[in-house]
Symmetry: C2
Subunit: 419 residues, 2 copies
Amino acid sequence: MDGRRLRRRRAARRRRGPHSTRTPRDRRGPPVAGQDLEEGLVTPLVPPSESERLARVVLSRAAEPGDLTVASLVLQLGAVGAVQAQLEPKADSQLHRRLEEVDPARELEQAQTLGIRFVVPGDPEWPLQLDDLTHGRLDWLGMGGPPIGLWVKGPMPLTELAESVAVVGSRSATTYGTTVANDISAVVARAGLAVVSGAAFGIDEAAHRGAVAAGGATVAVLACGVDRAYPAEHRALLAHLASHCAVVSESPPGASVTRLRFLTRNRLIAALTQGTVLVEAAIRSGALNTASWAHELNRVVMGVPGPITVAQSQGVHEWIRSGGATLVANGHHVLEQVGAAGEHLLEVPREEPKARDRLSATDQRVLEAVPLVQPADVTSIARVARAHVRDVDSALRRLERTGFVLRVEQRWRQSVAVS
Amino acid sequence: MDGRRLRRRRAARRRRGPHSTRTPRDRRGPPVAGQDLEEGLVTPLVPPSESERLARVVLSRAAEPGDLTVASLVLQLGAVGAVQAQLEPKADSQLHRRLEEVDPARELEQAQTLGIRFVVPGDPEWPLQLDDLTHGRLDWLGMGGPPIGLWVKGPMPLTELAESVAVVGSRSATTYGTTVANDISAVVARAGLAVVSGAAFGIDEAAHRGAVAAGGATVAVLACGVDRAYPAEHRALLAHLASHCAVVSESPPGASVTRLRFLTRNRLIAALTQGTVLVEAAIRSGALNTASWAHELNRVVMGVPGPITVAQSQGVHEWIRSGGATLVANGHHVLEQVGAAGEHLLEVPREEPKARDRLSATDQRVLEAVPLVQPADVTSIARVARAHVRDVDSALRRLERTGFVLRVEQRWRQSVAVS
């Protein structure tokens, strides 16, 4: 069991590749005081004790996702220690009060009734790529850090997210955008990678549906509890994901959506996946927040271009322009970007070879020298081709037979104007 | 006169900036033997002698554009010397015969009758940026080097091309492509830069028309003589350019188009301009040849993205993807790319500030913590916002007055679901 987990962990580390060697800190200069969690602390290899798990339930219920004070205490003291520290008289009175209210065993029991499990660091299912959030700098409104735990509904183990891609974008997407998100997700899912998104209207929805239609894996990460449907119109979609794949949240069952929770949710989408694909995002789209997290976490950020006349592509174009995102024009480009070295490398696309490509070098050269419109004599063509008249003459006869040139009296022109 | 030309040359060099310090050779490794012309040879500062000019007429008529043997001889021996060398018995017999046939004085006279002038290195009008072709490596089928001279029809002096942009692309363009080419050219032309293109169908045509409509300068560089119209459908457009701006060719009057001449023409479009904008180009579009020349000459290569579902954008996307081209989404982006430092720098576009951006930091934070759907009580909101209940309570009342939140009995939710 332990051997298997170790192998899995090593495999996950291998897949993550550059993340471990090049932290955001390397790119962004020295850390801001107090804005970094302790380095070197990673997920423990052993499953947590029962008291540790219950303490995490308490914290998950009592604290907001992405609360750095709590995350920092947990990393330093463990969850039990963090709860105890917060229960001391001097600690934040509100959190204090909340902590006393929670009955973690009952929470877990209730969740289980709803088919929801609580996955914590040390569990075999814990996605090790979330360790990267331990080293992440703060970004939005003082939020960040690894999650206390993940509430999960659905049969898919979260370890499958070790090979996954986030496909996110505008809620008010165009038909172009949803078509493209659908197609890209289908290719990614067919290649065996899980498609992660936020179950929102527009691109998110198309991403999930594309993966589902391709018979692949897709996971929704929500800003509310996994027992709730937000938006309500996606109740059926979320039910499908919960019964075939997985729906995940940092917030406990029953939690409602808030703007802050959307932002902390975005960091999870970025951290869980190897890369984030932006499909349509206006200048102020929330999807760009996910891209920022992905960038911060050294994940690959990819952008699908669109017409420059459409506002929904503007944010994506800005990211590509500034070098923050790599342009991807299909699912294979995405696979190439997130794949291990050489795994999904693409050849530069070329059109089908044309008939003229099959001509000999001499014939091609002569053909290039034949005028497109006004016929020319063999001497003139020989001059342009810089070849001997005799060779040009025989080449022209070959080209006439194969239909490339036309003879007009004793002069020659190309048979199709291709300018 | 000389002082003015020197200043102009210096200004041109300044504008060209990085070209002088970073030649393609630096980028591409050691030169291939015989593929580089002599370095350090630049345009002479004094006007050419009459015999030199006539010798260039002879060579322009007798040799093909981009003939490196001829270009190399001219750089080493001058045009007169090059003609003499080629007239020696051992030299290429075809060129030899051609050289003897040309009557350069009569050629110039006939051209003048047609309103065509022959501009050669040393003339005040000679575009000094063409010097960069002296250092260029070969590219296509052994062609390259600076032109022997330029045949010009139209009132615009070629020195105005010192500030210019090439806008090129697919002949079989989409409506999106021609609209975009038109708009970008209009912005570029309105900023005082000349728009250079090849007068072909599709993007080229739209580029010229956009600049004309904006009342700006635009120059067509042709693969045939400037007295001819190719394509014939653009006779009126070319006549307009010849009477208001300029039509330019390396080939003498009467010359017809060939594929080779299109390729050598493309190198001129790239060399004359500060940067090349690709607007729609399929994987095998000729416009990509212009982009290759621009890249080779250290000019800025820019690409306008489009729908990934359209073949005409595929070549452009590949160039952006590979890092060969910078994404531009409007004419201002183009100006920013080719402009001198700080000249056309753009601010990153942002949407108009929203009403919520004008709220105080506290009110924003509280608003972010208010649920979007299910109303929550003040204690719960205070916990999410990590603020004191008393402060949250007064913030909620302010937010209610300004219409951001709704009170439902003693609970609160956001008034507009913005997820």
